[in-house]
Symmetry: C2
Subunit: 321 residues, 2 copies
Amino acid sequence: MTSYWNDFSGIPEALEEVSGIIRSSSASKNPIISNGLTALFDGKGKLLRPGLFLIAAQFGKIRAKHYKLAAALEMLHMATLIHDDVIDDSPLRRGFPAVHTRFGKRDAVLIGDYLLSRCFRITAEYTSPRNALNLARLISIICTMEIEQNNDRFRNNISLRSYLRKIMGKSALLFSLACYAGAHEAKAPREVCERLRRIGYNIGIAFQIIDDILDYTGNQDTVRKSLGNDITAGLVTLPVLCALPLDNTGTLRDIFSRTVFTAEEGALIFDLVLRSGGAEAAGKYAESYTNRALREIGVLPPGKNRDMLETLTLRLLVRER
Amino acid sequence: MTSYWNDFSGIPEALEEVSGIIRSSSASKNPIISNGLTALFDGKGKLLRPGLFLIAAQFGKIRAKHYKLAAALEMLHMATLIHDDVIDDSPLRRGFPAVHTRFGKRDAVLIGDYLLSRCFRITAEYTSPRNALNLARLISIICTMEIEQNNDRFRNNISLRSYLRKIMGKSALLFSLACYAGAHEAKAPREVCERLRRIGYNIGIAFQIIDDILDYTGNQDTVRKSLGNDITAGLVTLPVLCALPLDNTGTLRDIFSRTVFTAEEGALIFDLVLRSGGAEAAGKYAESYTNRALREIGVLPPGKNRDMLETLTLRLLVRER
């Protein structure tokens, strides 16, 4: 799970501790809960959000309780993954059967709720009321954006702005909170906290754009889920928006001149996005947000943490695409 | 909504304020969220949990923030109702189409998550960390018990103990928290807080037993949902457990001698429970928990609050059955 971080001094050990906390915090005598969660932990997630939290915390004075809060962030992330997979009917997650594939949608909804409550339990115990509030507010926004995304399925009138708003809610806010709350809980100087908030935000937006691109161009083994899921589910993401002006056949524009599109047209859109270069054009946006993050990282106090944050950003958003 | 409380001095006004807080706390620019929640609010819930919280708080010194916490309890309850209806596929709730009937299961899961996060937001802002922790812990238990209940569908090996454990998680803990946290937040004496915790617990168990009985014997107009839902969904509740030794035909015992029962046998069980008097026998259990609550209420400090609690208990658990 932590091999992604092997060359980050101290982080693999810290994330091992975080993993232990996740395991013990979500341990339950109920075999469905513990089996469901174990399957998800063994899915070799990168623990990106706890990793970012801990790097950010090292800009201040890191303490034992910060490992608990890092674990809570991952648990929140996992809860949203479980509910997302129920909502999207995705059979796989991290290369393994999704929780609802194994235990049914009923239990998957409840296991997600369970994780959410465990996450709140940790924040109620170890965080400042302000950061607990931030976390709760964040979840409200995540839900609202997901509902908006559902509501826009198979609709064409998606603007770039509305797309960005949705991925902000989906990914960027949690990355942003991870960076900000890490620094804030560790009492880093205020301007460092605020800069880290922006860095997390830009990393998060770029990360989600790349995720949306990989649904078109990914290597199925690396991505560990099937391709074309988004458009099959009626989700118009950045590669589609970028393909619209690039498609010479006019077919895409034709489909999009109507209010809604059908599932069959979805398959056609997938091909047209690839042929017209929509994925590459979307890549430019990811690059731009990555560069914003890198510029802000460059003005952080120099040292080991800044270097780690830069390495992570390059690894996550540039090298491994 | 508050007509249930008309003869409780001061409570209807207080609950109007609570309703206002629920409305504004769950207000969203997203039309699906606000329509979904408005439909649920207009479903004329009795606001039992906030009512209990406020009566309990009057054993101490009630303050403005207590109305917010009372609202948070109802929001938590609503979130579990929304997820429950998704899980149980129940088309109606409070006599109106359930949230998932109107907006689909996807949005219903998310609207439930949204309400849950709003509830945590209020507790993070207004409660003691200890009560926030209690709330989070409670939700973990609610989820675990629901999963256990799911897992036991169409199974016969349900003991009375396992049934009571599940309804504790389903209802009694939230009633118990409402009574305890109300008194505790309002700084009532410790022994009053503890007594109120037990009162809430006993009221909650009796309340859930009666709810389970009404699924067999209820007047469909009063109950505002269709009868026989539980056994159709494979849930073995107290009326079934009580009917087992009472059924002279031996059919029930015969069905239960195998490990699982079928949906068709479920319909047969429904009839056998009614004919053998299983519902009446279950009523004796409800009576016993009601009496425990009434005995504890009798030892509370005398006055208006004690009288209200007694009136409520009798109304809820005795008169209106």
